[in-house]
Each structure stands twice: as C-alpha cells, then as structure tokens.
Amino acid sequence: MNTPFAGVLATESVCLAAVTDGATLAEWRHRVVKEVMTPQSPYAIALRQAGDVRDRAEFLARWRQLIADAIARVVPCAAARPSDGATGESGPAVVDPQRTAVLILAALHGGCTLSQLAQDQWPLDAALDVALTPFAGPGSPAGADTSTVPSGQ
C-alpha cells in the first residue's frame, strides 16, 4: 500500500481509537476536515480518485471499519445490532455502525470534491452534518460556521 494511504490509516487508527462519545467524535471530525482541506496533505491526496484501485479499495475498507468501530462505541446499543452493511432498515431511529461509516466516508469523499471546486469548506461541513448530526447531541451544526474560507488551492 502506498504512503498516503498507509499514513492516513496509521493516524486514523490512533485518532479513531480515542473516539468514545459525541464530543470526541466532534473532535475527530474537526481534525479530519482540517487535514482534508489542506492542499497536498496525505488526506487530500488519499481521497483523490487516483492510484491503484485495489490499494484504494483496501484503504477505504480499513478506514471504514475503523470509523464503524468508533461509531459502535459512541452508540453502545448500536453495536449489538446485526448489520450486513447492504440491506436492512434505514429508519432514523436505528443506528447501524457499518452503514453509518459508509455515509461518513462518502460525505468526506464527496464533500471534499465539492469543497475543492467551491474553494470553500462549507460543502464538506454540510455533508458531514448530514452524516454526523445524529451523534452530535444537542449543539450547533458545524455547517452554520462559514468563517473559514481556505484560499490558494
């Protein structure tokens, strides 16, 4: 596996292990957004649709599992639920860590692309709000924060 993929996974396995509740999940989110929005960071490079497709598939599968494990800790009752990752109920009251992890990864991926096009962090924040608000507890949605507009990408 090439360096950006391995680097991101090494960082993520440490940082996601520290996620145990809504507050630590929010910390993780803010760190990842900062990484993704930094041009040429390992995160920004790893999220591009480039490189060996099998390496990238393995990278995404392992990152997804790390995220799913963290979500299962944040929502303890969710861990006991059976999940096949593909089908099943998707009602708002039911939390499936595997499916949630897919949405979080998609939000990072798609949000990053939209943010790079717009040269504004807002789309990435909005995408992550949809994915993470159910776990954030009461608090202001980060999408309301439009103060940071990265430049020079």
Partner: protein, 178 residues
C-alpha cells in the same frame, strides 16, 4: 476517458478513440485543457438535462427515493465502474485548471439547486419544518451522492452508493414532520 481518468489520457488516446487526426483535433481545440473543458460542457449539459427531467416535478420524500432508485440502478448497469462523469472530472482537474474548476463548480451548483428546489417544495407542503436549512440538506445530499459514486467506483460495486444515499435520505426524512 472516464475509465482512465483525465490525467492519464493523452491526445493520442483521444485520437485513437475518435478516429480523428491530430491536425483535425487541433483545429477544434487549443490543446488538452480546451478539450477537457469541451468535455465538461458536453457532459454537464447532458447530466443537468437528465436531472432536471428526473427532479423537476418531485415534491415528496418518496419522489426523492424514486430518484435514488433510478440513480443507483443506472450506475449498477456498469457495476459503478464509471462513477459520475462530472465527479470524476472534478476530482482530477480542479487543482491545475481554474477555468475547468469554475465550470464544474457552476454545473454542480445547478445540480444541487435542483435538489434544493425539491426540498423547498417538500418544505412548502409542510413536510419539512420551516427552519430546516434546505441548502444545507441539499449540499449534504449532493456530498453523499458524489461520495457514493466514488466509493462504488473503487469497490466496483454499487452497494456503498445505495447505502450512502439511503442514509442521507433517511436523515432528511428524520427531519420531516409526520
């Protein structure tokens, strides 16, 4: 071009695929950047027309789920291998070609506005609360759609795209007033 990606495509590839000669191609396009921009315009127009047809009259969450079904089904025909043509272009050209980036940003803005218009109609019908931010939800849905395309493309399997769209729509549905 979409299978290989813009970065790996040379003018020779384009010539081989199109059967045109180099001089013919250069008569029409001033180098690769101009060609890429023409592709963006062409692909963008097609996708926006398709999405306008699909979303222009949708005014319910159920209608959005039907749009989701059609989108996933269309992508499944090719095991998700091609992804979203606009998203693939976006992930490759945005760094070094400002005009292409702006053209793509405009097209994604149009597409997202179609989703926002659906959510606004849902809101006007009283199903979404008046204080729900339609633009934020539409942006989130577009992020889940594009990210889903990318995950499916990498996995060569449309399942992660179906999951991400389902989860995003379930979140929007959770905001509705029953």
């Amino acid at each position: 071009m979409f299978v290989q990606g813009v970065g790996a495509t040379t003018l020779d590839d384009v010539l081989a695929a199109s059967g045109a000669s180099k001089s013919q191609l250069y008569q029409h396009f001033d180098g690769k950047d101009a060609l890429v921009r023409a592709v963006i315009d062409h692909v963008g127009e097609r996708i926006i027309r398709r999405e306008r047809d699909a979303l222009g009259h949708v005014s319910t969450i159920r209608g959005l789920y039907r749009w989701r079904d059609a989108t996933v089904q269309r992508n499944a025909l090719r095991d998700g291998a091609y992804g979203c043509a606009l998203g693939s272009l976006a992930s490759e050209v945005s760094d070094h070609d400002a005009a292409a980036r702006e053209a793509l940003a405009r097209l994604f803005g149009e597409w997202q506005e179609l989703l926002a218009a659906v959510l606004r109609r849902v809101q006007e019908a009283g199903t979404l609360p008046a204080d729900a931010s339609v633009d934020q939800l539409a942006t989130g849905l577009m992020g889940a759609l594009q990210g889903g395309y990318m995950l499916a493309q990498t996995a060569r399997d449309v399942t992660p795209m179906a999951t991400s769209l389902d989860m995003a729509l379930a979140y929007i549905e959770s905001r509705t007033i029953s």
